[in-house]
Symmetry: C2
């Protein structure tokens, strides 16, 4: 019988999503399952975004320009990006089907099959999926949970540079670690890119979730590196509009954008309704971001404190996004995460967490780590932390 392609067989199944049936089963048994496994926040979308769609008068939902509505590109450039210090024009960006398409486009456009991409490990799982889809070789630079996944020295990067190295990619601030890069760190990454003439792909979808007093310093702002920097971005997280599927690919390198336009034309149009929501979202008041940020700081402080108070548990204090990588006193965090869903109940509750192995490509790394997304309200997080603590005490593979 005709069989599927090797490339389709080779794409890894989502490690995060393969736990879902186990969680569903627990729920069907009446167990309360706290979802700390994915970055799907519980916070409302801005009312102006929701209203924009409700109030939009349209009798025909037609294609938009493949690059997105001009009005939206203008709004992103002249209003949103300007307000966060990223100096671009509407011609420097293209509207994508969320951050996912922007990442995929950046990889396809900047790298040939066999080219090497340097990533700080641990990194967002789907970077791996898109790299495999695009036949890109990932070269991970190790970082260390004990120093909060700090950017390694230039030497560590340079050890990995080969004639096939084409780009460095960062998540800033980062999923899954919550690492926020300082201006100095971004500039030093820029130096490496400049020295070896590499592209620097900067995924800045968590820009509005920075918990230090420093303003977020975009890779787009590195002086003199304009032709090498490609920013991928999305409205999903910053406006809690994950389902709108609207993102951007942003660069001053117009050869890159011209190629992105060709890919965009093949898929015809980004979602029209999502673009209308995005247009509305441009009116989001500063207070919305401020309130959301304060809420996440409270959640983070609570969660980090609770985790580090558990025996044998360690997690650094992330400065951005809404994730943290946690080292647990267990033999195998994947087995533990599964066991929590299948076997462990505390007062009829359990927690769903993501084994961190999926964020590493170096075999054997992250085996006793999990990623926790602190995307629930504090009273819920409080109960979830208690359940996790009790689970760790009861787990047969405990290493303490």
């Amino acid at each position: 019988m005709a069989s599927i392609s090797k490339r389709a067989a080779d794409i890894p199944a989502s490690a995060i999503r393969k736990m879902i049936p186990l969680a569903d089963k627990a729920r069907s048994q009446g167990v309360k399952v706290y979802r700390l496994n994915i970055g799907a926040p519980d916070i409302k979308s801005p009312q102006c975004a929701l209203d924009a769609v409700k109030n939009h008068v349209m009798d025909h939902v037609s294609y938009t320009n493949s690059a997105g509505l001009l009005e939206l590109r203008e709004g992103f450039a002249n209003r949103y990006y300007k307000s966060c210090g990223v100096d671009i024009t509407p011609d420097d960006l293209l509207v994508t089907v969320a951050g996912s398409e922007a990442i995929d486009m950046a990889m396809k456009i900047l790298m040939n099959p066999g080219d090497e991409l340097i990533l700080m490990e641990p990194y967002y799982t789907n970077y791996n999926t898109f790299a495999i889809e695009n036949e890109i070789v990932i070269r991970p630079v190790p970082t260390d949970i004990r120093n909060g996944f700090k950017v390694p020295s230039m030497d560590e990067f340079e050890k990995l540079v080969t004639p096939r190295t084409k780009a460095i990619m960062i998540s800033h601030p980062g999923n899954p670690t919550g690492t926020l890069y300082t201006k100095e760190e971004i500039l030093s990454l820029g130096e490496i890119a400049r020295k070896h003439d590499l592209f620097l792909i900067s995924d800045e979808v968590y820009r509005e979730f920075c918990y230090t007093d420093e303003p977020h310093f975009s890779a787009m702002s590195i002086p003199g590196l304009e032709q090498n920097v490609v920013m991928v971005d999305s409205i999903s997280k910053r406006y809690n509009l994950c389902g709108a599927r609207i993102g951007t690919i942003v660069t001053k390198n117009h050869e890159v954008l011209a190629a992105a336009t060709k890919y965009a034309q093949a898929r015809l149009s980004p979602p029209a309704y999502g673009q209308i929501a995005a247009l509305g979202a441009l009116d989001t008041p500063k207070e919305y971001f401020q309130a959301v940020k304060e809420e996440y700081i409270r959640r983070r402080d609570y969660t980090i404190g609770a985790l580090n108070a558990m025996e044998g548990v360690f997690t650094p204090t992330p400065q951005g996004a809404f994730y943290t990588i946690v080292s647990l006193p267990v033999d195998d965090a994947e087995d533990f995460a599964r066991w929590m869903l299948t076997d462990f109940r505390y007062e009829g509750q359990t927690v769903q967490i993501t084994p961190a192995k999926t964020f590493y490509s170096t075999p054997g790394k992250g085996l006793n780590q999990v990623r926790i997304a602190y995307v629930l309200e504090i009273p819920e997080l409080h109960k979830a932390m208690k359940v996790l603590e009790e689970g760790l005490k009861a787990y047969p593979g405990r290493t303490l």
Copy 2:
């Protein structure tokens, strides 16, 4: 300087879209330009689809399941597809980001780089774009405008079958020819697929636009070929919801769907608003399709009559979709199409048409042909046909 990838450089720019700046320029000079160049109809979306979005209560636009909302998959399978005689369950389909993603997924999943895909020429341009993106080799079977682009004999297909042949793809009814395949023709394509164990990819996005008395016979209904047929579909055309970006990939072959699920997980979620519109569209009354179909039959009859009445012009009578390929008495239809936009005005008007060369991969074919989309109201079509006729008389490269 770091340069873009070879694959990105190799993607062809859309021939259709490269005319757009010329049309924009004519418009900016006050010229009325009739848009016969793309399949963007002027017909209203069903009110139930528009209302579904307006009335949907939601305070957070979140991700849906990567495979689409279960309710929508059930609605497609149990209501829409059942109503058109396609017998599937919700487990036989996945919601995609419109037909474009479904086509791309089908190609990626069914074919390895270097594998060969048989297409009847002329064919939809983006089949070519996605084939190039996925390193698939297109092997065109010639068809003939003089007999209405009829399916060639099995012999013609078999001449092209090699050990690398992996699939046949059809557009049914077809863009750009408007060809509607009879049940017998679909069954005979099925025979070829069965005999050589090929996949049959059937793009049925124009299913609701069939102008014969026979019901549309889906490739999904070929007896015994269930594991080889993959249908790609979209709500864009049938509900005039091109901007919603919702489609489906449908197959009884669950190995194919499992692979599609992995690709779907990498891009996280189809558009949420589009899915809500699609759910609403399931309530579209039969009368909507009937009225749209009758309108298109009127437009087609008018357009085909007017074209064939022009000296030296020939077009067959398409039985489906809303396109027709037209042979013109010109030396070079691309030059003619460009000249119409840049030079020719008749009472301050001109027409925008698509050179058919872009729908052929065999060099030298279709050079004197254009594709016309009859997507305007008859009074507008009437004026457009007059302008086209006058343009043909005045064109310096006229061959009569």
